[in-house]
């Protein structure tokens, strides 16, 4: 999601996503999964723990688990932008974005994503310095668990400040979450 954030509107970003889309379509056509031997599909809510992307990616890979979708990646997509009506469409785009919506709308959004991507479990990253992008604080994990019948997990951390993140505890939490899924 780097280019859409820092190269928004530039041809370079457009070219990058064309390459990415072609690769994804090729993988779909040839049945190549992101994670070999995928057993579980997870949804990640909240911001990435940027400084630990590789470690988390490798752990999920070892557990044959794929994080197939997340709220935050889509937070940078503004479908409502309309060059013929810039002010109205900007207002619409910024007010309808996930982060600015009510708990009810957020819950429905995550529910739709869980169904669309055939999700087995949801991880909520409770980011210390970004409460607005942390949806674990007002009972959302429990509501999703009860409504959809899938397990949820809360990981405490931060998007940037790794002093707020305990790698060992997060690792154990994720491993235990997969053990919970294995129990069926």
């Amino acid at each position: 999601m780097g280019p859409i954030v820092v190269m928004r509107g530039l041809q370079k970003a457009v070219d990058y996503y064309k390459v990415l889309k072609a690769e994804m379509e090729d993988r779909i056509a040839n049945g190549i999964a992101a994670v070999d031997g995928e057993r579980y599909r997870l949804y990640w809510d909240g911001m990435p723990i940027w400084g630990k992307l590789r470690a988390l990616s490798e752990q999920f890979g070892r557990l044959n688990t794929c994080v197939v979708a997340s709220t935050y990646c889509n937070s940078w997509i503004f479908d409502s932008f309309d060059p013929s009506d810039p002010f109205y469409s900007m207002a619409k785009a910024y007010t309808e974005i996930f982060i600015n919506r009510s708990e009810r709308v957020k819950e429905q959004y995550i529910t739709d994503m869980v169904k669309k991507f055939k999700i087995d479990g949801v991880i909520f990253h409770d980011s210390k310095t970004c409460p607005n992008n942390s949806n674990a604080r007002y009972g959302m994990p429990a509501r999703i668990r009860e409504k959809l019948g899938i397990p949820t997990l809360i990981i405490s951390g931060d998007l940037n400040d790794l002093r707020c993140y305990s790698e060992e505890q997060a690792k154990t939490n994720i491993e235990a979450f997969i053990e919970q899924l294995e129990e069926g």
């Binding site: 429990a142 668990r145 397990p151 949820t152 809360i154 405490s156 707020c164 993140y165 305990s166 060992e168 505890q169 154990t172 939490n173 491993e175 235990a176 053990e179 919970q180 129990e183 069926g184």
Partner: protein, 265 residues
């Protein structure tokens, strides 16, 4: 099947435990040692000591499961499992014939776990504390050190408290400062230790709601059963501390070892 045995090794943050069980899930022997810096070597030693305690040979142990934060250092284990799964299994063992949900609370040396199980023993949700040892064994160790009392005497001392004092925080650092304040005003050690126990209970209740039968596992509950009694009063439900609560993680690992062995043979 009579001569096959299983082992669980729990390399925890404060203590390392090994348990040997037989086919009938009876504990034949166990050992508990303080965790050192060489986790692999320590795991070997506790395994050997548990074998000696059970009076069985290494070869008759058919499957070994390692758990705890040092689980990956147990290179002779057949499999590793997290302490969440192992405490759930061990904590539920004595109550598996009872209907209804259950909550297993493990108060460990450096982290707490609240594990909710359905009536079939399946984990439905769990929570571990954040990057902070508040309300764990490390918290009580610090308080005991501050008050200059041996750790193994704090339960008895707390039972002689004359009143319940409320420490404003369960943060180890802030509580230590509060203890200093209390010492100045002449508060008794007994009251301050009980205040620390109340803090541990408050921390658990802050982590998650506890439902159904409540079982406490881990060394803190094993040595300080008063914590269970305080929790019982707060919740108004029976709180159980199994015999050998400190080895419930290793015992759970041994129970999983049996399941895995039988599943594979």
């Amino acid at each position: 099947m009579k001569d096959i045995f299983f082992c669980g090794v729990d390399v925890g943050a404060s203590a390392t435990k090994a348990v040997i069980t037989d086919y009938n899930e009876r504990i034949l022997g166990y050992t508990i040692r303080r965790t050192t810096t060489n986790l692999g070597e320590l795991a070997q030693e506790v395994f050997k000591e548990a074998l000696d305690s059970a009076k069985i040979s290494k070869d008759s142990v058919k499957y070994i499961v390692a758990t705890g934060y040092g689980r990956e250092n147990v290179d002779f284990a057949d499999e590793i499992k997290t302490e969440i799964s192992c405490h759930a299994k061990g904590g539920r063992f004595g109550f598996k014939d009872q209907m209804g949900p259950m909550t297993v609370v493990d108060i460990g040396g450096q982290d707490n776990k609240v594990i909710k199980l359905d009536s079939n023993g399946k984990i439905i949700n769990f929570k571990m504390n954040r990057k902070c040892a508040a309300g764990t064994g490390a918290f009580l160790e610090e308080i005991a050190y501050k008050l200059d009392v041996p750790l193994d005497e704090i339960d008895e001392l707390a039972r002689n408290a004359t009143r319940d004092i409320e420490l404003g925080s369960f943060c180890t650092v802030f509580t230590s400062t509060e203890i200093l304040e209390s010492i100045k005003t002449g508060e008794t050690k007994e009251n301050m230790i009980k205040g620390a126990f109340i803090s541990v209970v408050k921390r658990i209740l802050e982590m998650e709601t506890l439902e159904g039968i409540v079982v406490l596992t881990g060394g803190v509950a094993a040595y300080n059963p008063l914590i269970g009694e305080i929790l019982e009063k707060q919740l108004n439900v029976d709180v159980h501390i199994p015999k050998n609560a400190q080895i419930m993680g290793a015992f759970g690992a041994a129970l999983i070892a049996k399941e895995r062995y039988l599943g594979k043979t």
